[in-house]
Amino acid sequence: MRSLGFMRHLNQEKIVLLLTALLFVVFSLTLNNFLAGDNILSLMRSVAVLGILGLGMLVVVLGRGIDLSLVAVMAISVAWSMQLIHEGLPVSVALTIGLLFALGIALCTGILVAYAEIPPLFATLAMATFVYGFGRAHLIVGTDVVYMPKTMGWVVSLGQGKLLGVPMPIVVAAGMALVVFLFLRFTKIGSFIYAIGDNLAASRISGIAVRPMLVLQYVLSGGIAFVAGIITATSVEAMNTRIVNSNMIYDVILVVVLGGVGLSGGRGNVRNVIVGTLLIGVLMNGMTIMDVQYTVQNVIKSLILLLAIVVDSIVNPRDEQTGQQGDI
């Protein structure tokens, strides 16, 4: 019975954490150099952008929303900024315009969701298509890959620099995780987001300005997307707007859901995102070392997600009390 008691304490986050630890041990024992400090840094670095986007998704999902426009906003806003620099604008001005564009789009999305009451799934899906289409037609007029201008200055260090030997993308991701954690945990607005996600009607009755809060969530996620874009672009010295067509947005949802954040809102925190991101990082790094093909990697990734969900539903069966309305 003791083992069953132990099982009771398992939730998806712990299952995924265990799975990550297990994979980590297996890889450490079987793969050369897996445990090397440099490899661990490279592992974390390769999922830093994913983790940052995961934070943006977390803020929205906690309020019972979802943001499918994250990747589109990230790609178009940053690509446009770099294009403006190519056209001769000063770096600071161009980056400010890009950030304002990202925030402006997110504001529109938020208004659509909060005031027009369009389901977030559709509002953000439409917005993603709009941002990409508009951006490709009117903002990024040349090729769909915008190369990083040579004049980016200190901004480049966000993608390529190091702080005490740790690559900057990891430092930025960790810093943002801390900020989002503090925001959700210790500010009134943070608590309101949980309340709204948990029970929107009750939050409204108890006096929370629900609609502006929803808008704020999307604006935050838009700003986070811009930061993730800057790191992507400066790391590889280019922003390829084609990633909007890739399955990257599903990877973002994957790390959030995998870590145990409930898509029905109100459940989850930054820790869940970190755990989900680390699992993907360990998995991808190990498979890259083993020279497993990318398509096979995707299959394994999705199998792990299914496994985590199945185990979760076995140890935490849904019933009338735990099940929530609004699950996607």
Binding site: A36, G142, D144, Y147, S246
Partner: protein, 342 residues
């Protein structure tokens, strides 16, 4: 002067007139007699351009060149952008066949998706030019690099830097595009043909980065950590290779790791060669491919044998470039061609 004299004068005058007239006629003949039929076989014809996307540098150069020439000869040129969506492209192709232009210039997303439609277009008398990647069917012209030969060429270049005669680890990594895409698949096939005959070469990693520079960066970073003595890397496309090069640079291995890539020779290729992102690049000159496509259109329309009567594989010439070859104007500006297509 008698009657006879008058007659002589008249005859001389007539003769002079005739000579004068024939001189005029000779001046007329100095015009190229072949120009008019050639021009009239082109004028008023319709060219439809449907690549898998118009947003990338290669497609912009091909389309830009063909459009410029088409307009020069009074032809109409229209283009569609399926934006990497194979379904949208197949629909666009179906609609095009119904519209019945005289020429369709297209770029296959893969071997099979358009094969049946291209065959149908040819059967209905539309000249079909395929760019960069040949579908499972041959039409009037295929214009593109011989990717298998290019893979072999890259592998042979790598042998010089990392082969048996060198004091290196002989370790080589390959960064592919997508596994099923012909551009990537055939290059890798060519490389492996060479490397399989050279057992000293050790392929330590051969993975697909999905045409994404970020993935290429992550893959190469890991490969470099696993094999710090890595001798060379081949990436099948320079647009993705910028990430591969960034990983090499950020690991401080520029100079140690020989990095070969290939592409259409846009300015970004020259920039990458100049700053050492790429050690060497095989340039298949996209505007040159545009010219080849235009040439094949002229051949098909002027000979008027019917669509699909003459089928030609037009393999693009390539040129290996290193830092030393980069000069002002060695590469082309995609913006310039993008403007033409707009």
């Amino acid at each position: 002067m008698g009657r006879n004299g008058l007659m002589k004068l008249a005859a001389t005058a007539v003769a002079a007139l005739a000579i004068g007239a024939s001189a005029v006629k000779a001046a007329d003949d100095m015009n190229d007699p072949y120009r008019d039929p050639a021009l009239s076989s082109l004028a008023g014809k319709k060219i439809a351009y449907l690549p898998i996307s118009i947003g990338f540098d290669l497609a912009q150069a091909w389309g830009g060149v063909v459009k410029t020439e088409a307009e020069r000869y009074g032809m109409s040129f229209s283009s569609q952008d399926p934006n990497w969506n194979t379904d949208a492209m197949a629909q666009g192709m179906t609609a095009l066949i119904a519209e019945h232009p005289d020429v369709i210039v297209t770029q296959n997303p893969d071997m099979q998706s358009l094969a049946r439609l291209l065959k149908q277009a040819n059967a209905e008398g539309i000249v079909v030019v395929q760019l960069n990647m040949q579908g499972a069917i041959q039409t009037d012209a295929f214009v593109g690099p011989d990717f298998i030969a290019m893979g072999e060429q890259a592998a042979n270049m790598m042998l010089k830097k990392c082969g048996a005669e060198t004091q290196t680890s002989h370790k080589v990594a390959i960064v592919q595009g997508v596994l099923t895409g012909g551009v990537s698949y055939y290059q890798v096939q060519g490389m492996m043909k060479v490397f399989n005959e050279h057992p000293e070469i050790q392929i330590v990693s051969s993975q697909a980065a999905d045409w994404d520079a970020s993935k290429a960066r992550a893959i190469t970073e890991t490969a470099l950590q696993q094999h710090p003595d890595l001798c060379g890397v081949i990436d099948v496309w320079d647009g993705q290779g910028i990430g591969t090069g960034a990983a090499i640079k950020q690991a401080g291995k520029q100079g140690q790791v020989y990095f070969i890539t290939s592409g259409g020779g846009a300015q970004s290729m020259c920039d990458g060669l100049a700053d050492g992102t790429y050690s060497a690049a095989i340039n298949y000159n996209a505007p040159g491919m545009g010219r080849d496509a235009w040439t094949s259109i002229m051949i098909a329309l002027q000979n008027n044998q019917g669509a699909g009567a003459i089928k030609t594989q037009i393999y693009s010439p390539t040129r290996v470039m290193t830092k030393e070859d980069v000069k002002e104007g060695s590469c082309w500006d995609p913006q310039q061609y993008a403007k033409i297509l707009r």
